[in-house]
Symmetry: C2
Subunit: 240 residues, 2 copies
């Protein structure tokens, strides 16, 4: 690997692993520029790692990388296959999966995602709010556990309360809601609340919100979603 | 760690890592028995790893483990905190996240999940089919990318064709569909097809099916979902 490309904060997290490498880091909203820089380097023959936090395929850079390959009409070959000398339009690509925030956060909360769930980003930068709202209503009505990415940003304040209002239209106010910020990082924060208290939760750009389905329960400091409906299975001895 | 508990196939995958440990492995449909054995061992003072493939919180054992802790009225404390001598009802638990099949499969297909998605299991063993069908329709209508777990089993044959029929009701027949079986294992198989050909796909219990949204595209041997709607961003130089 010659070159590491990524958002500054994420590159900083792996500094000890990339000593001596060329590093290209860019600001937060510069995704297109960042992927462009990674492709430029790869097209010039360098071996490049484009880093995301979590999993690169969940609301992250893998999609944009492929989109830009298509746009540039780059021929993608399996990683490790070399392009012919001077061929700037053949690049080997491998998407390396990781642990997404929805898994890291769920693990910290207990097990909210052990039944059907929907992941929804509240960022309306590239998606019209009407589409997002339609998804929230559909997921709420069909009793999906919901994982909310990007609940709030510096410029976006009202969307999470709108989610609360919409979901309260078809789910009980006591529905467990888990709030995880900066999962597995030093500033990690975990909170379990209820749907009717969601507007009081402390959320920011690093927060993922988990809204239980009709069967999600809390137990001690944890929340979990039973794997099925009804009591179709016998779970053995209870504490006396 | 004294004891490893898991489904036989998964325990076999980690044999080299668990030499010398007590191993309790059970058959495929014996989840309750398996978690019960893990809790019995933990309650007797042993340090126990309950293993799942992928991520333990996505359609896997973490939920049932917490459900059975609640049922047994076990007091859960952070992992590593010891129970008092003879206290059988205090157990330390940590859920360790992993890479779920939806991330491993997505990475092999390219990047189908870089926008909102819904994960739905077709297993009607513990969930009524009416609930599953309602979710399929909701996810299809709201244009979620869909990740289908458990598309088929030895005894379940017709559900995936029903999904195809339902989704075709509101999505184009040319919608890209990715089929990944046994991701990252020796018998791994990857196929990209279209929604109207889905009924011809070779799927089994180890398969995850990815149905694109209205904007999902294929490029070469890959599929990807653009991160936004419309052309709100400029992607720079095209190949001449």
């Amino acid at each position: 690997m010659n070159t590491v490309v990524g958002y500054g904060t994420y590159v900083d997290l792996i500094r000890p692993l990339i000593a001596g490498k060329e590093v290209i880091s860019t600001g937060m909203t510069k995704e297109v520029e960042r992927v462009g820089a990674a492709l430029d380097a790869a097209q010039s023959g360098k071996s490049v790692a484009l880093v995301s936090s979590g999993d690169p395929g969940i609301y992250a850079m893998a999609g944009l990388a492929l989109e830009m390959c298509a746009r540039r009409k780059i021929d993608i070959v399996p990683a490790g296959e070399a392009a012919a000398e001077g061929d700037l339009y053949t690049v080997g690509i491998e998407v390396v999966p990781g642990i997404p925030a929805l898994c890291a956060g769920a693990a910290l909360l207990g097990a909210p995602l052990t039944h059907d769930f929907a992941a929804i980003s509240l960022s309306d930068l590239l998606t019209p709010w009407e589409v997002i709202e339609k998804r929230i209503i559909a997921a709420a009505e069909a009793d999906f556990v919901m994982v909310i990415y990007n609940p709030k940003s510096k410029k976006r304040h009202w969307q999470l309360e709108k989610v609360q209002e919409l979901v309260l239209g078809c789910r009980d106010g006591q529905t467990p809601v888990g709030i995880v910020t900066a999962a597995m990082r030093p500033e990690q924060a975990i909170c379990i609340t209820t749907l009717d208290q969601l507007h009081l939760a402390d959320v920011n750009m690093q927060t993922t919100v988990f809204i239980g389905n009709r069967h999600t329960k809390t137990y001690g400091d944890y929340m979990y979603t039973p794997r099925g409906y009804g009591d179709k299975y016998e779970m053995g001895k209870m504490r006396e």
